[in-house]
Symmetry: C2
Subunit: 359 residues, 2 copies
C-alpha cells in the first residue's frame, strides 16, 4: 500500500461527465411515427404536448410527421415555439387557463395562430382584448381546472358575444394515471365530457367544434367516435411511470439518464451520481422506485437525494462495479427534461429550448 | 352578457409574469449574518453549501461575512464558483465522493485551492493525479456515502502514501431530517463519528484535522467541542421543511414563489399557476403539504402537477380572489432554486449561475 502500482483504477472511460440525459434517436423517431400513425388510423388530429421535450428539433419532427399543431403549457413555451409552428403553417394551443396579460397574448397571436385555454369569463375577456381564439377547458374527472361540461355552452355564447372565435373544447383526463381500469375509465370520462360539451357548443351555433383530449396513458383507449384531436406528450420518450401503467413497453423508452456508480462501500446497495436534481422527485403511489435500471433487473432505486441515488441490490442480484456507467429510466420524464439544458441525441446535442419557461 | 361594460376584470396588476422566485434581501442578509455569528460564537468555521442558492452574489455575501470557504455538490458547481472563491483567498470543498476525471479536477485545482471528498482508494488516486487535497467522508448514520469512522485512518494513510494532503474528515448528518429528537440525535451521531475519525487521522500523523459536519436542521445542536467546521446550506432562504422541523421560524423565510390564482371554479379549493416545475416535488413524510401560503393560514397545498397547484380551503378559511397574486413557501428550497434561472431580489435580478450543473 505504498506505490502507485497497486492503486485501484477507475473503471469507466469518462467520455462525458455524468449525469447527463441521453436520447436514442431511432426510438424517438419510431415513437413519433407510431403515435402519428395511430391518430391517422383513428381519424384523429395529433397535437402533441411539447412540455415533455421543450425542444425545437423534436417539435419539427412531430410537425413534419403530420401533427396539426402543438400543445404547450405556458405562454413562455408558446413564445419559444412560435416561429417553428408558424413555419409549418400550424397553430398552438395553450392547453390550460392562461393567466397572461392580453398584451402579451396579443403579441404572441401576431407571431403565430394562437388558441388559449379558458375556463372563465375573465379569460375570455383577455382573449378578446388580445385578438386570439379560445378553446374551452372542461373537467372530465381530474378536478383541477376546467368547467363542468354543461357550462361550456354559456362560455361559448359569452365568447361569441365578445367576437372571440371558439375552436372547440378540451380536457385532460389526468385521472388516467392510475392502476387497473383507471386508463380505460378516464378515456370514457373524457369522451362523455367532451361529447356533452360539444353538444353545448353546437347549441351555441359553433359547428364542427374540436373535441380535444388525450394523454399518453389514455391514448390506447380513446373514443375515436367522439374525439377529433389527441394531445399526448410523454409518448416521445416514455418513462418508468408509463411502464408501470402498462402504457409503454421497454423498447419504447427513448430517454435515459447516464450515471456513474460512485460508491459500493455498503453491501446490498450502490450509489449513483444522479439525484433528484436530474431524475426529478416524482413518485406516484403505484411506483415503488425512483427510476429503473434496465441493465440491472431486480434492483430498486430506493432513496434519492439532490445528487445521489441509493440503489438496493438484494442477495443474488448483479450489481455494477465502482466507476461503471449505468443508465436510469426516470419516473417522470417531463420533470427530468426540465432539469437539464441539453439532450444528447446520438452524436448531436439538442437544446431544451423552453426549459424553465414556467411563466 | 353582450357588451364589454359588464365583463369581469382581471384583479391583479401583472408587473411580472408569474410564477417567479422572490428573495427578500433583508431577510437573506440577516440569515447569513446570524449563521456566521452562531459559528463564531461556537468557535466553528463556516463553510456554507452553495447548492441551495447557486448564485455568485450570495456566495460573495457569505464569504464577505466570514465564511472560510464554500461547500459545493459537484465539480460543475466548483467551476462556476472558482473565481469568486479565489478572489476571497478561500477554498472549495466538493462535499461528496467525486466521480470527475483527474484531468478535470487538476484544471479546477489550478484555479482555486480545492479539496475533494473521498471515500475510496480510487478517489484518492484521482486526487493524487490531479494534485488536489482530500477530505475523507465518513458515514454518521445516513447510510449513503462515506466510510465507517474507523476506516478513516486507513484512507488517510493511503492518501499520505500517495503524497496527497488530507485536510480532515467530513460527514453529512442527513438523518437529522426527521421529527422529534431526530435533529438532536443526528448531531450526536455526527460528533461521535467525526471524533472517532479524527482520532484515526491523528494516529496517521495528521495533526489538527478539520472535523466538518452540519446541516441547517442540526446546526442548533452542534457539538462545538468536536466539530471545527459547519456546512449548512438551506439557512440562507429557509423553507417549509425547515419550518416543519422547527429549524426555522416564519420571519426567517427569505424566499417565496410568486403565483397567480387562475381558477376558483370549484368550492373549497383554488388553483395556482405554480406546479412542480417551479415548486419542486419534494415532500418528506412528515410534511402534509406541497408548500405554505403564509397569507392564507389554514389552507393546504394538497395536489401538485407540473404547472398547477390545487390549494384546499376548508369552510370558514379565507381564500384569495381569481387573479390575485399569492406567495408560496416551497417545501425544499434547493429544488425550487434549481428550477429557475433567475432570482428576483428586491429590485435586482440575480442569476442562478450554477443551475443544472449536476456533472
Amino acid at each position: 500500500m505504498t506505490g502507485s502500482e497497486d492503486r485501484p483504477t477507475w473503471k469507466a472511460v469518462a467520455v462525458r461527465a455524468t449525469p447527463y440525459v441521453r436520447v436514442d434517436p431511432e426510438t424517438l423517431r419510431s415513437n413519433i411515427a407510431a403515435m402519428q400513425h395511430f391518430c391517422d388510423s383513428q381519424g384523429l388530429a395529433l397535437r402533441p404536448h411539447i412540455k415533455t421535450h421543450k425542444s425545437i428539433e423534436i417539435a419539427r419532427l412531430q410537425l413534419s410527421e403530420g401533427a396539426v399543431g402543438l400543445s404547450v403549457a405556458t405562454v413562455g413555451e408558446a413564445e419559444v415555439f412560435a416561429d417553428t409552428v408558424a413555419e409549418h403553417g400550424a397553430d398552438v394551443l395553450i392547453a390550460y387557463p392562461v393567466a397572461a396579460s392580453a398584451e402579451r397574448l396579443g403579441r404572441l397571436g401576431r407571431r403565430v395562430r394562437t388558441i388559449v385555454g379558458v375556463d372563465s369569463r375573465e379569460g375570455i375577456g383577455r382573449a378578446a382584448d388580445a385578438g386570439v381564439a379560445v378553446s374551452i377547458e372542461v373537467d372530465s374527472g381530474l378536478g383541477r381546472t376546467g368547467v363542468p361540461a354543461e357550462d361550456a355552452r354559456a362560455l361559448a355564447e359569452y365568447s361569441r358575444s365578445l367576437g372571440v372565435t371558439v375552436t372547440g373544447v378540451f380536457t385532460f383526463p389526468g385521472h388516467g394515471y392510475g392502476m387497473r381500469s383507471a386508463r380505460r375509465d378516464a378515456a370514457s370520462d373524457e369522451a362523455a365530457a367532451l361529447s356533452r360539451a360539444c353538444d353545448g357548443l353546437r347549441a351555441a351555433g359553433i359547428t364542427d367544434p374540436v373535441a380535444s383530449g388525450g394523454s399518453t396513458p389514455t391514448a390506447a383507449f380513446v373514443h375515436g367516435d367522439v374525439l377529433t384531436e389527441l394531445r399526448p406528450g410523454v409518448y416521445v420518450f416514455m418513462d418508468a411511470v408509463q411502464l408501470a401503467l402498462g402504457a409503454a413497453t421497454p423498447e419504447k423508452v427513448a430517454l435515459t439518464v447516464r450515471t456513474t456508480v460512485i460508491s459500493t462501500a455498503v453491501p446490498n446497495q450502490f450509489v449513483l451520481d444522479a439525484g433528484a436534481k436530474v431524475l426529478g422527485m416524482d413518485r406516484p403511489g403505484f411506483v415503488a422506485t425512483h427510476g429503473l435500471l434496465p441493465a440491472y433487473p431486480g434492483t430498486r432505486l430506493a432513496r434519492l437525494w439532490e445528487h445521489h441515488a441509493v440503489v438496493e441490490t438484494p442477495d443474488g442480484v448483479d450489481r455494477p462495479m465502482l466507476g461503471e456507467q449505468v443508465n436510469v429510466v426516470p419516473n417522470h420524464v417531463c420533470a427530468t427534461v426540465n432539469l437539464v439544458d441539453e439532450l444528447f441525441v446520438g452524436n448531436e446535442v439538442w437544446q431544451v429550448a423552453a426549459r424553465g419557461h414556467n411563466a
